[in-house]
């Protein structure tokens, strides 16, 4: 936040709560368009459930494809929210304050989107509850040695913890909205949501301690969730998957993609709601620097992977590397390298990383690159396993594209509702970094 200007506690309340005013016609038009795309996705899903998984592009040997790519992509997106809200909180990085609420919201909605895909991917979706441990007639329990079950525990824990973290962080702000709004239905809503918060020293004491513990729990959780997702692949002996670098590679990639989406979301919000005083160039520059770091880690993984394959002496592993770079999917592979390694290099130039338009465009490239990274890992590896006779080619179907578009609409639907109903910037934390009003300062 730019503290050079005369931002006061009252102004923070006014500016942030103003964002919740009656939606404009542009917002409504965007929301209706979003619902239309969601409708297409829903229609495709119903058609798939009714007809069966044959409507997808699945064919031997590729039975994990776009849906699982979407799952990994959205779980990855969810990671930077907790990085910004929890890890940077523990490191006392003040630049997080202006952007953490938006990234936390992004986390919660991205997990809600990711969670759909294992279900969409199931042939008989109505049996999804078989994934959960529950006492049944045959006393048969789930297999805790399966990475897919680790996934269920990791992702559902992450969804719960990030939602709790998101909600608890908002309680003082919800009370501020409750105290300002006049319309009765909104007053009732925010009164319920703010849980009777009064801002007493007693409440702040327990609140700040609890928030610290949430952050301390969320930090190792972030690391574990995408490590577990990477083990969905690394535990199998498929060439291209069976490698020990997957957990750090996935975690860095997840944070990288999440940061890019934060920029993609924050740039229009900043312009539309005129938040230039609160979200400054310095915030974008700090995020760009984190993108440089994570991009370098991802680039390192891209280099190490083929070296490990070559050094292993396994013809299957090396064959996979050659297939990725020169096979029929090579354009996707090189698109991934271009978007995730080459394009972020531009951020080394201060002029570019402090240019909002350039950052926005770069963030879009990274979003595309990271989606293709997941696709490449999953589809290319499966289509080129051990036996040449069992190699195959996967072609995406319209139904899969429709459901993928629907998933983006699902995410943006929550996001559009969020920016009009909940405080998109943390009112109380923005005030914390302002100088407290003192009589001494006033008299000076």
């Amino acid at each position: 936040m730019n503290q050079e200007t005369t931002i006061t506690y009252s102004k923070v309340n006014r500016d942030i709560i103003k964002m919740l005013d009656k939606p404009s016609s542009k917002w409504l038009a965007l929301f209706l368009f979003d619902l239309a795309v969601l409708g297409i996705g829903l229609f495709c899903f119903i058609y798939q459930v009714y007809t069966g998984l044959g409507v997808t592009g699945y064919s031997h040997p590729v039975f994990w494809a776009v849906y699982i790519s979407n799952f990994v992509f959205w779980v990855g997106i969810a990671h930077s929210g907790t990085l910004i809200s929890a890890i940077l909180f523990l490191f006392r990085a003040r630049f997080r304050i202006s952007i953490y609420r938006i990234s936390e919201a992004m986390t919660v909605f991205a997990v809600a989107t990711a969670g759909l895909f294992p279900l969409i991917h199931l042939g008989r979706v109505w049996n999804f509850y078989w994934l959960f441990p529950y006492p049944n007639q045959r006393e048969l329990w789930i297999n805790f040695k399966s990475p897919l079950i680790w996934d269920v525990f990791a992702v559902s824990t992450y969804a719960t913890v990030s939602t709790v973290f998101f909600f608890v962080g908002m309680i003082p702000d919800l009370a501020a909205i409750r105290d300002r709004v006049l319309e009765k239905p909104r007053k009732i809503l925010y009164t319920i949501l703010s849980l009777g918060w009064k801002g007493s020293n007693w409440e702040w004491l327990h609140y700040t301690r609890a928030y610290l513990y949430f952050a301390a729990f969320a930090t190792p959780l972030v690391i574990s969730v995408h490590s577990v997702v990477s083990w969905d692949f690394a535990m199998a002996n498929t060439p291209g998957w069976h490698t020990t670098i997957f957990p750090p590679y996935f975690v860095a990639g997840a944070i990288f993609s999440g940061l890019a989406l934060v920029i993609t979301l924050v740039v229009p919000i900043r312009i539309i709601f005129r938040l230039e005083e609160y979200i400054t160039i310095a915030h974008f520059e700090a995020m760009a620097k984190m993108i440089i770091l994570t991009s370098l880690i991802v680039a390192y993984a891209y280099i190490v992977e083929p070296i490990m394959s070559w050094y292993s002496g396994s013809p299957h592993e090396w064959g996979q590397v050659v297939f990725r770079a020169t096979g029929p999917y090579a354009p996707f592979y090189w698109l991934m390298v271009f978007c995730n390694v080459v394009v972020p290099l531009l951020l080394w130039f201060k002029k570019i990383r402090t240019n909002i338009k350039a950052l926005f465009i770069i963030s879009l490239f990274i979003n595309i690159g990271m989606w293709f990274e997941r696709f490449n890992i999953i589809v290319i590896s499966l289509s080129h396993e051990f036996e040449p006779g069992a190699w195959g080619f996967y072609k995406v179907s319209l139904v899969e594209l429709g459901i993928t578009a629907g998933s983006f609409a699902w995410f943006f639907m929550f996001f559009l509702i969020f920016i009009k109903t909940l405080p998109a910037l943390s009112i109380s934390e923005l005030k914390e970094i302002l100088p407290a009003p003192t009589k001494e300062a006033k008299s000076e």
Binding site: T8, Y9, P133, T191, E203, S428
Partner: protein
Amino acid sequence: MKSDQGVMGIFSYVDSTIHTIKKLKKEGYGNLRAFSPVPNHQIEEELKEHESPVRFFTLTGGTLGAICGLGFTVFTSLAWPIMTSSKPIVSLPPFMLIVYELTILLGVLSTLIGLFINARLRRNAPAAMYDPRFSEDKFGVLVGCSKEDVRKVEEILKSSGAEDIKFEGI
């Protein structure tokens, strides 16, 4: 000291608020509560009676999560013992993942319960003495005192710079 009356002073400045708390404590008024739009360490230091017990909820929940995770994986594996790939039935390394996740899950949920119980975040309506300006830019000091002391407390609050004073039987 008998405290059946409440006197609330509303301040614009944090230093006036802290000064008032110090003065009231010096005068022997121990039943104090401060209100502020942001957490303030100086106010907290002046009024802190003890450490927040939320940490015990966190520790208990985390420990319980670890025990549940271990017990759950071990006992369900033993309930239907199928040997796969010559691996032991009770295979601790993969079970540790479940233990890890459940430690975090129950730790967070019990911290949440600890917060609700200790900060008394269960009433859905603010108390009568609460002022909506506390969530914006004002600070408050609520003094619990006897009926005879009300005037004296009012005097202290006024002389310390209170802009507004509220009274209520508590």
